[in-house]
Every structure is written in C-alpha cells, then in structure tokens.
C-alpha cells in the first residue's frame, strides 16, 4: 500500500584526526515508508543528530548511500526539512517574517507568502503573535514557530531533531499532542516524520516504529514496532511493557568483569569509556535502590520515580555497573552487597570504597601508572589528553579526562591544578 520514501544503505560516518579514526556511525541501514512516523532513539552521542543531517543532505556520509524515492541524494534534500532542538529562529525577524523567509527562499510571491504564513501560524495557535519577536516568546511558542516554518515549505519528510528537549515538561507535553493531532488529522502534506530523541517514553508515545541506536560506535541495535492506537496512554500496561523493552536493550546485561572493564588505553581491545556522571547523583541512585524491596527496581519505573530523563538514568546505571555496585539483567537493576555497603556508609568510607573500585578500572590503572612513573608524580593535562586521543576522538578524550579527574578527586587519588593544568598524584595513592 505504501511506497518507500527513504532508504539508507550502509551509512557510516568516520572522523579522522591525525593517525586515528573514530567511527561516529557504523553501517546504518534504515528504510522509511510513506505514512510512517519513525523515531530514532538512543543515548547522547549515538549519532542520531548526525544521522538526521545526513538524511537531509546537510552533511555527506563517509560511506554508504542515501536514497530518496530511489534516487541517490547528492546535496541538500529539497523535499525534507528539519525542526531544530534550539529552534534556530532568526532573532531579528518577527514570528511572521521567520515563516515568510522560508517561503521567500522557495520563490513564493509576496502576497501568497503572507497569506500562507498567517494561515500556518493560525494552525499552530500563534494567532495574534505575528508581529512579536522571538525574544518575546516562551520556549514552547518558539518551537511552534519552528514547526510552522518547517511546514511552510510543505516537506514530504519532516525531520525533528530533539524538538522537545529544550522545553519545559508541560509545554513539551502539549506540543507533542498538537503535533500528533496535525499529523493524524492529515492537516499537513507531510508524508513521513522522523523524530530523533533520547527520551524513551517520548518515542513510544509518538512513533509507529522505534529504531534504537547505541553508542561507541553509533549503530542500530533494534527495530521496534509500536502497535498501540493513538492517542496513547502512558499508564497502559502495553505502553509500559514497550518502554521496559527498550530500557532492557539499552541497559543490556551486566557482563563478566573482564568484558565489562575493557582494556587500558594503548592496549589491544576497546577501552571502556567512563560514563560522564555526577557522583552525588550516583549515590542518590544507590541510596534509592537500597530502600527498595529486595534492593531491586524496574529501570523504566526508576525513571519516573527519580524524575530523571532516560539518557541520564542509563548513564548512572552504566556507572553503577562499571564500578560493580549493581547488576543489570532483563531490564531490572539490583544492588549487590558492595553497593549496599556503599549506600549505607559514611562520607569517609564511601570515598574509600569508591577509591578501591576505581583503582580496578583499566583507564585509572593506566593513568595512576603514568603519574607514578613520571617525574615529581605530576603530568600536564595536554600530555594525558594526547595519550587518550589514541582511543577517543578529541572531544571525548577531553570529557574522559574531565570525568577521570572528577572521580579521582572524589576518591582522593588525584589532584589537579587548573591554573597550571597539571595533574598530581595524591600522596595516599602513591
């Protein structure tokens, strides 16, 4: 019944810096049918935004092919458009001018531009705000202008790049509902929607199909059909079941220790990246689990109880697993005895436990070894970062070192002087 609108064949995006190569996206295949609302779901850094830029032709992939209606894409796709997370409205144009300029670029004559812009603004409920400047509007209204501008060019394929992430909870919820209404009501000429999000519930709430991606390297790990009728109820057991399934896949299973830990930088095998988290948040999670019956919780339920988004929760869970405080299996997380001890310990003993745990991580072993072997037990940030860049791309190497210093300071193994940019070994760690 429906025709194939978009097809990705073996899309890879590889960044080269010096001798090292980093794969941002590895061999992604994807098809989108007409009439479909698909979500690309995955944690931060899995390359979903990059994928959207490749699909719209803003960026050329390193390898692979984008076919649009069976024709290979050789530049910006004239039938697609993007709604941006940060709105990307021109602050010096009024709401109406922001919509009109998109029409003007398409060569629509002046009179028609005005009627169409006004009609669209009316449809998204911004009647009366035409002459306002973006700085006078709230986030939710700004994104409505973003939607109106995107629909003005009547795209066949509408790409949404985390359009609700920068909004407050209530505006996001109402805007989701309004978008679904426009889409299901057939009020817009759009043939397919592709939504990039890191929010699991959002994907299940809106999309017909969820393409789940994971990071390191960015790749598709699951295709999930959502067969629930619209509008969906978040308390519906079938809804919760689907959310649970996505968490199960993304959180994975705790592996045997040597697999979980990975290898040190420079050695063969993959270096396990440290999840970028705040240690106080981790303590909070462990304390919460400690108070649960059987020290066990359903991950999807945790997200609601703790009021954190799925992206952050998954990173915290990854850290708990990596440090050996908890085990993950079948979408459940269980605090183990060590984690229980940590959760109930005093501040001082927590630091000691934390120190013994991170000393076991290959990345830390390697870093402490480097410092011990160096003159005066200190090293410059840049030197360490250069060494880390053998394993991670520049930005990630910086983030890894940032996290390592944060954890090392908490554990009182490392000290760092920001003005001289030098890392020290704390006397206790020598």
């Amino acid at each position: 019944m429906s025709e194939k609108l978009l097809e990705l064949k073996g899309i890879s995006q590889i960044y080269t810096s010096g001798d090292s190569k980093f794969t941002a996206i590895r061999e992604v295949d994807l098809t989108l049918q007409e009439g479909e609302f698909a979500a690309v779901m995955g944690p931060t850094g899995c390359g979903k935004s990059t994928l959207l830029r490749i699909i719209t032709g803003l960026q050329a992939p390193t390898a692979g092919q984008v076919l649009y209606r069976d024709h290979p894409l050789t530049g910006v796709n004239p039938h697609a458009t993007i709604v941006f997370q940060t709105f990307a409205l021109f602050p010096w144009l009024t709401v109406q001018e922001n919509v009109e300029v998109a029409l003007k670029a398409r060569g629509v004559p002046p009179k028609l531009r005005t009627t169409r812009a006004l009609d669209l603004l009316d449809r998204v409920g911004l009647d009366g705000f035409e002459t306002a400047y973006p700085r006078e509007l709230s986030g939710g209204m700004l994104q409505k202008v973003g939607f109106a501008r995107a629909m003005a060019v009547e795209p066949e394929l509408l790409c949404l790049d985390e359009p609700f992430s920068a909004l407050d909870v209530l505006s996001a919820e109402s805007l989701r509902g309004e978008l679904l209404e426009l889409w299901t009501g057939g009020k817009i000429p759009t043939r397919a929607i592709l939504l990039a999000t890191h929010h699991i519930e959002e994907a299940v709430f809106m999309a017909d199909r969820i393409v789940v991606m994971d990071k390191d390297p960015g790749r598709v790990i699951m295709n999930l059909k959502v067969d629930l009728p619209l509008p969906r109820n978040r308390k519906d057991p079938r809804f919760l079941n689907l959310v649970d399934r996505v968490y199960m896949v993304l959180a994975g299973h705790t592996q045997p220790e040597h697999v979980e830990l990975g290898t040190a930088p420079g050695e063969p095998g993959r270096t396990r990246a440290l999840p970028h988290i705040n240690i106080d948040d981790l303590s909070g999670l462990l304390e919460h689990l400690d108070n649960m019956p059987n020290n066990r919780a359903d991950i999807y339920a945790l997200a609601q109880e703790l009021q954190v988004n799925s992206d952050e929760l998954l990173r915290l869970i990854e850290a708990a697993e990596l440090l050996g405080f908890a085990n993950v299996a079948y979408g459940d997380i269980t605090l183990n005895p060590l984690g229980e001890t940590f959760a109930e310990a005093s501040i001082r003993s927590r630091k000691e436990i934390f120190a013994t745990r991170i000393r076991r991580l290959p990345l830390f072993k390697w870093l402490l070894g480097l410092l011990r072997a160096s003159d005066k037990k200190q090293m410059e940030w840049d030197v360490v970062q250069k060494a880390l860049e053998l394993e991670f791309h520049e930005e990630e190497a910086e983030r890894q070192l940032d996290t390592a210093i944060d954890w090392g300071r908490y554990a009182e193994l490392l000290a760092y002087d920001d003005s001289t940019q030098i890392l020290f070994l704390e006397p206790g760690a020598a």
Partner: protein, 573 residues
C-alpha cells in the same frame, strides 16, 4: 548592563603560533613597500601643493572636504572588509595567509604607506588626482583592518543551527547575506566603524599634508588647516580648527552613530530583552518624522523589487556536496607564480636593505628600543590613573550615567589635533619632546583602557560585592581579591588595543613641526617620519619592517600569553 560596556571593545585576533602564513605575509609586505618605493622614484621631482588658508570662514568648506574624504575612505574600507572577510572565512588556505596579514597590516604605521601610495600614484596620474587618491588611501589604512576583522570574526562565529537552517531552507547568497550574515554582524560592524572613524580623525592631519623629499603635497581640508596653523604657530587658528573638528565629531556621533546603535539593538542574539538598551533622541525623532516615513513609502517598492529580483536570480548556495580536498591545476599555477614573484621581489627588497650601513641598523634597533620604553611608560601611566578611576566609575551607576557623555566627548577628540598645544606647553620643560611624545601616546590610547576597566568593574556581580562587605574585607584585601582579578581580563583587552595604538602613534609623536621648527627625538617612529621626509627609502623600508616585526613579536609572545591567562583564569562568566 552598563551602556559603556561595549564602547571600544574591539574583537581581538585569535592569535596562534607563527606559521608559514606569517612568513609569506612579512615577505609580501616587504616586496610591496619596495615596489612602491621603486615606482616612486619616477615621480616628478618638485611638487608644490595649494596654499592652505587660515581664515576661519574657509572652515566649513575645508571640513566638508575632509568629511568627504573620510566618507569615501570608509566606503572603500567597508567594501574591502566584505570581500576580505568572505575570502578568509570561506577558504582555509586563504585564511592561513589573510588573518596574519591583517595582524601585520594593523601594525604598519600610516607614514610607511605614504610613499608607496603617493609616489606610485603620482608617477601614473596627474598630481592633483594622485594626492587626493593617496590621502583617501591613507585614511583607508587606518580604518579598514578592524572592520575587516570584525566581519571575518562574525562570519566564522554564526551559530551552527542558524547556518543549517538557512541551508535547509535553500537560502541563496543574497538571502543568506541579508537575513543571516549582515544582521548577525551588524552590531560589531557599527562599533568597529565608530572606532575606525575615530582612528581616521586621529591620523587626518598626517593624511592631508605631507612632504617626501622636495615634494610637498597638501590638500585643502581640516587636517591640513590644523597642521598649517601649527606650523605657523597660530594659536587662534588652532582653536578654530579644533572647534570645527569637535563640532563635526559630536554631530556625527549624535546624528549618525547613536541612532545606528539604537536601531541595531534589534540584532542582538540574546533571547532576553536588555534592561538598558542604547537610546538616541535623534533616532526617536526620526521614527516619528512624517517626512521620513513619506520618503520611505516612496523608496520601499523599488527596494522590495530589487530584493525579490536578487532573491530569485542568484543561484542557491551550498546545495551540492562538494568534492573533497582537490585543488585544480589553475590554483597550483597561480600559487607557483605568486611564490616566484614573492621570491624575486624579496631578493630585490633584500638588495635595497643590503645598502644600509651597519650603524644605521644599530640606530634602528636603538630606535625600536626607545619607542618600546616610551610605549611602556605611556601604558603604565595610563594604568595608574584608569584603574582607580575606572573602578570608581564602574562601581557607581549614578556616577557612570553622569560621566558617560563627558568621557565620550573627551575620548572622541583626536589627540593629534591637541598635540601642537601640548607641545607648546611642555617643550620648555626638561625632556621636552620626549615628554610630549609619551603624552600624545597616552592621550590617544588611554580611553581604550578606561572604557574597558569601567566595563569590567560594572560586570562584577553584586553578590561578590555584598560578600566583600559581609566579610568586612579591608580596602587592600578588597582590591587584591575582588577588583583586580575581576578587571584583569578587561584591562588586558584594553592594554592590547592601547599598546597597538601607541606604537602607531609613535610616527606622529616623535617627530613634529611646530611654529616653523622641526622637533624630533630618538625612536623608530621618528626614524620613519624622517626617512619619509628626506626620501631615504632604504631606511624607511628597514625601519618599517623592524617596527612591524617588533610589534608582532611583542603581540605574540607577551600579550597573547597574558590574554590567554586572563581568559582562562579570571573570566567571571
């Protein structure tokens, strides 16, 4: 936010280590200067300019001529900046040469451009034309660089999402320029244009009257009037000329720049409304003017037509994927030819430099050193008074509101015009011209520091001031732990601009003609002025190159480090 916050805050180049680009630039500049000088040897041997009339009634006419020159120069500067910025922002290879070029050009003193422009033009054009054109060119050389840098800077810092939005909505180059690039750059361009005009007035005297050997060039204009009045020691005429100049500057400020600033407020990127936007009485009056609105009604339709036409006709940019990393053979051919020409030219220029005697080189080195000491003295004295004054003004909004117009008018008076009066006052004192030179550098550059320090002090968060009060910090402690660290980045930004300005001012500060007498003191600026005056081209080339090298080296090795330190450690944001 304090309304003074952005005055004279000129964007700084993002310095990097010396690259091959720098080498190419320095060599290229040497060749250019050399070629200009060579051409100049063919110019007529004796030239006499028109007499400059000192009667006050000629002032409106002279002022009109000078204003016209400034306007033409400004138009040229803007055109140059647009082209330059696009080139530098669009191609990586061009960027590697063009940005160091800007850095170097900024430090070339105006008088060194003089023979290049004047003599080469007078060799090929009738004298009257050549003089007029080279005067405009000289003004361009003190207006263009910071505008070009501001335009380049904003082209490269346009937020990525806005760029992507204009690509995904298929903007063509015209629409991109009109909707994205120009509005984003507008505020920076206006502030830098104001600074450029200030700089133009500062060097106006040098650009309207000059002599090279026996060739005297002069143009009727306000700068020439002031210079002639100084030459004859006619204080009354100096006062008349100064009055006219200040009147023009204040009028321009009120009728052009303030309205532009008030209007450009709409181009801020911030998503919140500013508490204290720039205002202008003239802008408000214009907005309510019926005549202007009627005029706009007439003008709008044809402009809209042009806009539509440009929007439809120009092809859409950035739509196709670009082929990666291949240069065509044409590019290689051009690059090779340029390299060969550069090589040949450097040999010729080297030959000219070879003729200099060793003691002349020694003299140049000594001159650079003396000027360096003078620049440092001027900076230290400036810091000495601007830090307490700036912190006092910046911490007290009421004082700031009251002082702002006074300080701004004081700052807009070009110090060179005051120089003769200054000279008259101090020439009798021990150290005479030496003192006057330092004073001129100081007068010309102290405002950069003052405005930046005021901005820094007014940006100190109120919580920190309260904390200092609560902790009952002593006066000394308060300065050490709050004020000094907080204003440090601002003081450095101001000091960099001031130091550059002081080096440039050395050519007018160390060599002066007043009351029929020539005063000169040791220094590289004086050497350049002398060499120009005497037509000693090898010395001019050598002194100019040494000055550039000194300034660029000091920038890269001293200011750059301080700037980094200040940005990394003391930014309060």
């Amino acid at each position: 936010m304090n309304p003074l916050l952005r005055v004279f805050k000129i964007e700084l180049p993002s310095w990097r280590r010396f690259t091959w680009g720098d080498a190419v630039v320095l060599l290229g500049l040497a060749v250019l200067l050399y070629l200009g000088i060579r051409l100049g040897l063919g110019a007529p041997a004796i030239i006499k300019g028109p007499e400059i009339d000192l009667a006050p009634r000629v002032l409106p006419y002279y002022a009109g001529l000078s204003l016209g020159r400034m306007m033409w120069a400004y138009l040229l500067s803007i055109t140059f900046s647009m082209v330059f910025g696009y080139l530098a922002a669009q191609t990586r290879t061009a960027e590697k040469v063009l940005i160091p070029l800007l850095d170097v050009l900024q430090s070339v003193p105006i008088l060194s451009f003089l023979p290049v422009a004047l003599l080469s033009l007078s060799a090929i054009l009738p004298t009257a034309w050549a003089v007029e054109l080279s005067s405009i060119f000289l003004i361009v050389t003190c207006q263009a660089w910071n505008i070009a840098f501001a335009w380049y800077q904003s082209l490269t810092t346009i937020p990525r999402n806005l760029k992507q939005a204009s690509t995904i909505f298929h903007f063509n180059p015209w629409l991109r320029f009109k909707v994205l690039e120009l509005p984003f750059a507008a505020i920076g361009l206006i502030w830098n244009s104001m600074a450029s005009w200030g700089n133009g007035w500062f060097f106006l005297m040098a650009a309207e009257i000059f002599s090279v050997g026996d060739r005297n060039f002069r143009l009727p204009g306000l700068g020439a009037y002031l210079q002639e009045a100084a030459n004859r020691g006619n204080l009354e005429s100096i006062a008349w000329g100064l009055g006219a100049l200040i009147l023009i500057i204040v009028t321009l400020d009120q009728l052009v720049w303030r309205p532009l600033l008030a209007w450009s407020e709409r181009f801020t990127m911030s998503l919140v409304e500013s508490d204290n936007p720039p205002t202008s009485w003239f802008y408000n009056a214009l907005r309510n003017s019926r005549l202007l609105n009627a005029l706009l009604l007439v003008l709008r339709p044809p402009l809209a037509k042009l806009d539509e036409w440009l929007t439809q006709r120009l092809p859409i940019s950035g739509i196709k994927f670009q082929a990666r990393g291949r240069y065509s053979w044409v590019w290689y051919l051009v690059a090779t030819a340029a390299a060969l020409a550069l090589f040949y030219g450097s040999i010729l220029a080297g030959g000219m430099l070879w003729n200099l005697r060793l003691e002349q080189w020694g003299g140049i080195a000594l001159g650079v050193l003396t000027t360096l000491l003078r620049v440092m003295a001027a900076l230290l004295i400036t810091l000495g008074w601007t830090i307490p004054a700036g912190v006092a003004i910046g911490s007290n909004p009421r004082l700031a509101a009251w002082l702002q117009p006074v300080v701004q008018i004081a700052a807009s008076v070009p110090a060179t015009a005051l120089f003769p009066v200054l000279l008259l006052l101090v020439i009798g004192l021990p150290g005479g011209l030496n003192l006057a030179a330092i004073l001129l550098m100081l007068l010309g550059t102290q405002w950069y520091l003052l405005f930046n320090i005021i901005a820094g002090a007014s940006a100190i968060p109120r919580e920190l001031r309260y904390t200092a009060d609560l902790l009952k910090l002593s006066r000394w402690e308060r300065w050490r732990s709050l004020f000094l660290p907080a204003i440090f980045p601002y003081a450095i930004t101001g000091a960099i601009a001031a130091s550059g300005g002081a080096w440039n001012a050395s050519v007018v500060a160390e060599y002066a003609q007043f009351g029929g007498q020539t005063y000169q003191t040791l220094g590289v600026g004086s050497l350049i002025a002398q060499a120009t005056g005497a037509g000693d081209f090898p010395l001019l080339l050598a002194a100019t190159l040494s000055l550039i090298l000194a300034v660029v080296t000091i920038n890269r090795f001293f200011w750059q480090r301080l700037y980094r330190l200040s940005e990394e450690r003391y930014r309060l944001e």
